[in-house]
Symmetry: C2
Subunit: 228 residues, 2 copies
């Protein structure tokens, strides 16, 4: 850890002077005081991206849903629970940032109403009314047009189609897509990513999440240089 701190302090990389905001982990959307809806994101890939950007000289704020991971040294961490919390924290942190990497698996749906007391199990069936959460990526993108914005897409099918659709629809600069389900990516130590941008793509082969994050950070540096 001391070594990491020193690396961070000495970092004179291509992102020196850049303020970067990274989101990571799942969100939890409460149904009542004890139950919630969530997903299998461990936060590992996002934490590794935060460390990789720090290693390239960026000043990094990591906005994290509930995980069991230690904070990367030299990174400022903000803990959140719900998608609404994550949006608020992201909007605040991005106000003076130049780079936003949204690696969190933010819930798309929350309970339409949160019950004050524990829902009793009187019925054999129950329909749960869900409402869309506010879109963190799209909201941040619209609020800060000059920000370099990187999104993630976790897909179980039609990877490139879904990822390029999201890239265009949300006006992202870069999207990192990966396959999930059947034990892939989520909660694993290894990952692989397909990067897409307007007019190009780059494949990051199966490797540790730290190695994948390092390669992603290098592509971000290169793509950002083209845009500047």
């Amino acid at each position: 850890q001391i070594r990491d701190d020193v690396v961070s302090l000495l970092a004179d990389g291509p992102l020196r002077g850049v303020k970067a905001v990274v989101t990571a982990g799942p969100t939890r959307e409460p149904l009542d005081p004890v139950r919630f809806l969530t997903n299998r994101s461990s936060g590992k890939q996002g934490y590794a991206v935060a460390a990789a950007l720090r290693d390239r000289g960026a000043q990094v704020t990591l906005i994290s849903g509930p995980t069991t991971l230690p904070t990367p040294p030299g990174v400022t961490r903000v803990d959140v629970e719900t998608a609404a919390d994550m949006l608020q924290a992201s909007m605040q942190a991005c106000a003076d940032a130049q780079l936003f990497v949204a690696a969190a698996a933010v819930a798309d749906y929350r309970a339409a109403a949160i019950a004050d007391s524990k829902i009793k199990k009187h019925n054999a069936e129950l329909t749960l009314a869900l409402a869309r959460t506010d879109d963190v990526l799209a909201t941040v993108r619209q609020a800060y047009p000059a920000l370099f914005v990187v999104g993630f897409a976790a897909e179980t099918d039609d990877l490139e189609t879904h990822a390029r659709g999201k890239l265009q629809r949300k006006g992202l600069d870069l999207i990192a897509a990966n396959w999930v389900g059947q034990g892939r990516a989520f909660d694993q130590d290894d990952n692989s990513l397909q990067l897409f941008w307007d007019g190009g793509q780059h494949a990051i082969g199966h490797a540790s999440k730290a190695a994948v994050a390092a390669e992603l950070a290098d592509v971000i540096v290169a793509r950002r240089a083209k845009k500047l």
Copy 2:
């Protein structure tokens, strides 16, 4: 840990020769390959109960939902994910057991159908069809009438009424009730319990989950002696 192992091997307590099954932690009910419904149980109280029963000489099998806790030394652990998994593992483990303590926060509802691929967020609102999970406590109780069965009730209101209702309805020998929500019990290191049985009750004051588990184990030993 070596000390714990020795204590376990030497244990010559009131539960010597007794096979005990303890469930702990939350369950996860998948909606699709990445999303799931769960609850705030950390598993700490159940793990502490497993250790307390071991300390009193029992041979303990701990059936655990997803937690980040280490297995108590000398305890056999079986990992499960869903309520259906927990029922199957409990039925199997209880076949030759004398004591069953169901401390897990088993999901009451699961998705009526699990989507094969990730649910896309096309709609602003979504209704999720849920179906009741099979009742682990009631099923085990009916299958093994001679088993001493201890249930838990986590309530946000009307503690005694809800707990005694569950005690009667499921034919339990003892029920341990606690308040949850607003940061109480779930994911905390301390707890307090109200124990109820047919014709009696006992309050365990606020203490560490290990101390609460020790007192609960002593009441189980005493109540079981009355029944034998």
